[in-house]
Structures are given as C-alpha cells and as structure tokens.
Symmetry: C2
Subunit: 305 residues, 2 copies
DNA sequence: GGGCGCCATCGTGAAAAGCGATTGTTCCCG
DNA sequence: CGGGAACAATCGCTTTTCACGATGGCGCCC
C-alpha cells in the first residue's frame, strides 16, 4: 500500500485538472495508455477507484476516495517541487555557511570573503564565530581561519606566508632592516601566547635572542599605542601591521628583521573528507584569490627600496 | 531532475539514522547494494553527493547538500504516511458525507441512519441539508432522500411505499376504512403542493373526487391541530402519521381510504455513475434496512383488524 | 601487514514503465 | 436509429529499471 509514486500523483492531478486521461497524457508527455496504467497503479495502491469514468466525451470525475488522495497528493507534489527548488538554490550558492576565525587572524582576508560572497549570493546566510584562541576547534564550522596547525581530522590550504615585522617608535631603530640580535633584552609589547605567538617567540629563543616582554594584549590598537608611547617595540605579522595602517603612521617606523623570523602561515581549515557546499567551495576560492593578491602586494611593498 | 522517488528519500533517511548503508538496508529489507544504488540514483537526481563516505568502519555523514535534501525529504515522507493514513481512515469509513433531505420526508428513516452511522464510525462527519422543496437538486450531495422522481442524471433505490391515510377528527368518519368519494367536497387541510403532494391530489382528481383544501401548511403539528380543531381532515402518508403519533391521539382517528391512493415512494437518490464512499455505501444499506423494518411494521399494523 | 567492515561495481534475472494498436463504451448528430 | 467521434481499457511488445548476489577496492585496527 506504500508503493506510492509521485509520478502517479502527478498524473492524477493532471487528469483532475484536464478532465481527461488523454489530455493529461499530452500535458505530461505520456501516451493515454500510460496515464491509464499509472492511474490504475495508483488505484491499486490506495485500494479503490479514484476516478469515475462516465465513458464517452464526458469528463472523468474524482471519487470521494480520489478527493482524499488528491488533497494530500497535491501537498506532496508541492513539497517535491519545494525540495527541487531548495536544491537548485543550494546548488546556485545560497544557503548557510559557518566560518570561524580568531581575533587578529584574517582581519584583512575575511572581510573580502564576506563581501564578495554576499555580492555573488545575496540570499546566502553567512555566520561568523570567533573561536577561543586557546582551543580552536572546527566543531560544526564549514571553514576556520587559523594561523597554525590544528588538531583533529582536518584539511587546509595555506593562504599566505605572513612575515613578522618590527614596529618601533620613530627613531628607535635606524635603517630599513634591523638585525635580529638588536632585540635581545629590548622591551617588547606583544600578543598573548596564543595562535602562532609561542612558535614565533621560540624562534627568537632559538636564535639566542631574548627580548623583554613588558606588556601583552590582544588589542592591536592598544599595542601600537604602547609602541607610540615608547613602552617598547612590537613584532607583528605584516597582516596586522597592514590592517592597522602602521606604515603610514608618522610616529611609527616599520622595519624588517635580519635574519627574518619564519613567517606565520595563515591557513584555511575544514574537516577532512567533507564535501563542501558550493558556498564553501567559493569561499575557499575567494580566500585563496584574496590572499594571493595580498601576497603580491606584500612582495611589491618589500622589494621596492 | 524531478525523477525524485520517495523510496530513495526513505533510504536516505534510514542511512542517516543508521550511519551505514548496510544497516539501513537491513532495516528497509533491502540488500546493501540496492541501497547503494538508491542513494546513487538520488545523488544523480539532486546533482551531487548527499553523503560523505569516510571508508572503513566510520559512519557515513551527510553533506550540506544532503542536509537540504533530507530536511525536505523527511517532510515528504511524513506527508506520504499522512496520505496513507488518511486513505486508511477513509476506507475504514471515516470521512464526510453530505445527505440532503426535505421537510416531512424521512423524518423516521434519516435519524436511524444518522444514529447508526455515528455509532459505527465515531469519527465521521455527517452533514445534513434541507433542500428547497420546489427544486430539489442533488448538487454536491452524496445522498438525497426524496419522495418522487428527480431530474438530472440520478440513480436511486426505493426505500418504502408510503401509503396515504386519512386523518380525521374522532367521530368525523366511522369504520376502519373510508370510501374515497366521501372526501368529495369535504374540507381538507394539506401540505403545500410540493414533493409528492401534486401527484397525490391528481390521483383524487382522476378518481373524480374534489376535496376542498381549506388550509395548507408544511408543519405537521399545525396540520393535525387543525384537524383536531375540526377545520377539516388530512390525507397524509403513513410515515408522517406515524411520526406524529396520530394513531395514539384520542382526538384523532386514522382511516384507510378505499380504494387506496397510490402510495408515495420514498427513495434515496445519488448521482448516477458515481462511486460511493464506504460511508455512503453503508448509509444506503442502513437506510434500506431501516425502511424494510418500517415496511414490516406497516404491514403488521394494517393487517391486524 | 593481514583481517575485517564498509561501500561501489558488475552481471543477471525479474518486474515495470511506456508505447502503439486495438477493443469496448458512451454520447451526439445526422 | 445508426454511424461516427471521443474516450478509457486492454493487449503485446520493447526498453528501462529494480533488486540481488558476487566481487573488488578502500580504510581502519589489531
């Protein structure tokens, strides 16, 4: 009794509307005999006739049983087209995407991704969430921006090598680049020891350089204000420097370090083996594009004397 | 893209719940390979994978596309079982039935039908409507009680021959039966000229008997009150006499007419060639039974001296 | 690394879907 | 009143689909 076929219900609806098996068949692209058999199959599965066939040119009429079937059948068909439409919308890029980020990561890339995603898919539902820096997790996120390796079963693309730069008060250091060991014992303001920060500081240690961290905060503006105030210098990734516009601040000077500290790697992560939604796939493309644009900008900026 | 099959959606739901193609197959009574092909067909029709298959013993997981499909798919499946349940209820006799009647017709039979129908099918929805006596029409009614032939494409069963009796004030006539011609010129109170009434009066005329109709009303109680008040006699069908309990009224006397006037025929009508709902079919059965019981009662009543 | 669990694929037989032709009804018009 | 028109049911027939069992490939875990 549950061998109900949407096709049969569609045929039934067409017959009801056309008043004739033949016209319904024409509308559906079937032959009359096919529709006849479809209705017969439907009648078998509901256990009784759904149409009265008066014979001759008079239109067929629905039976009481048919009315019951049709009433529910129409809803079923409506739900079926709703499903099809939802799938189409999804394939066209609408839908929901959950993106995770961390403070100070991708403050430049993520806005570009969001902007372009919203432009391309006005109906899409973008949710951003900021993860705890101590224990960044993919969880149910579709994508997660992060600047280091991530536990769990995760795949990623590297978006950008984000080199560390020295930001100091004007006049603190001279020259475009500063020898690394000039920072030994020097006062530094820095981020808390999350994300890439511990790895970066280990790089200092490995190089035998031990700066004196006199203040830690996650707030970039606070950090730069402290630098301006002479509290110390800061070693920040280019992305953070760039985002804060520190290069164009008269009271600050941005130096390279020599030798350079291994850059942090901005990566975009997702759970391994998961099929992406079109939206997520596009988001990755955009992020990669945007990052490569930034990489070009970065190269240009630091090759010109 | 619209070659969507409920079976495939059911398979998908089962796979989601079981986390495995094989277990889903076991639950549905299919083999694993069948479920695999069903999911493959579904994926073909929605244009993308609905499950990520991690391989090995890890459970399959739904993709974003799959989530969209499943969300709508579950609704579809729910609607499908709702349809099946509605059909079952209908076949069991629930549902709606529209019965038409006319004042003074079936005041005895119809209550029996309603009572027994409600007893047998507590969930059924019985609608009664009283038609205009001048132009009784089947319209959208399932069944129509009427005491004469009906225009349109209609079938019927005769429920009862309802003989006309003379109801007179006690002492007006003597004897069990009264010769018809005693009514020539006699004062009569009568129903309006609707339903069977014109045919009945023609029977008088054909017999050369011309009573004087001094009052017409459709109200049986009013009619009998007038008889009691001496306004005249009444020629009423047995059913009406019986329903009013006139036989047990001391101030009235019920006579037969000799020769008898052709009885009115109480019929139950329905549109020709229409399949009945189980409820309507049962209603007809009950009406026929009830009428045959009444016919027995009638015969008994009038054979005893 | 071998066994185990899992899904995909292949080949096969059975079921059905769909088609064209034909038959059987009913109505309508001449 | 009889022939034609309109319509649905039915009959073979072909093609597609369905479901199955067997096999193969892949990823875990002992």
């Amino acid at each position: 009794m549950n061998d109900l076929e949407l096709r049969h219900l569609a045929a039934m609806a067409a017959v009801t509307e056309e008043g004739s098996f033949g016209r319904a068949a024409a509308r559906l692209g079937y032959t009359q005999s096919t529709v006849s058999q479809q209705i017969a199959a439907l009648e078998r599965s509901v256990g009784g006739p759904v149409f009265d066939r008066p014979g001759g040119p008079r239109p067929v009429r629905i039976t009481p049983l048919g009315a019951v079937v049709l009433e529910h059948g129409r809803e079923l068909l409506a739900k079926a087209v709703a499903l099809a439409e939802a799938v189409d919308r999804f394939q066209a890029g609408d839908g929901r995407i959950d993106i995770g980020t961390l403070q100070s990561v991708s403050s430049v890339i993520l806005p570009v991704v969001v902007r372009r995603l919203r432009d391309e898919h006005p109906g899409c539902d973008i949710r951003l969430s900021e993860e705890e820096p101590e224990a960044p997790q993919i969880g149910d996120l579709d994508l997660l921006f992060y600047d280091g390796p991530l536990g769990g079963d995760v795949e990623h693309v590297k978006l950008l090598d984000d080199p560390y730069l020295l930001v100091a008060g004007r006049g603190t250091f001279s020259g475009r680049s500063v020898p690394l060991d000039r920072l030994d014992g020097a006062p530094l303001v820095a981020w808390p020891a999350t994300c890439d920060q511990p790895r970066m500081e280990e790089a200092f240690t490995r190089a035998g350089v031990n700066p004196k961290v006199v203040f830690r905060t996650a707030g970039n503006e606070t950090l730069l204000s402290m630098v301006r105030a002479g509290m110390g210098s800061a070693v920040l990734p280019w992305l953070a420097v760039h985002a804060a516009g520190a290069e164009h601040d008269d009271r600050l000077r941005v130096h390279e370090l020599r030798p350079a500290i291994p850059p942090r790697e901005i990566c975009l992560h997702w759970r391994a083996g998961r099929t992406h939604s079109p939206l997520a796939a596009r988001a990755i493309e955009i992020a990669v594009e945007a990052a490569s644009g930034l990489a070009g900008e970065l190269a240009l900026e630091h090759s010109v004397p």
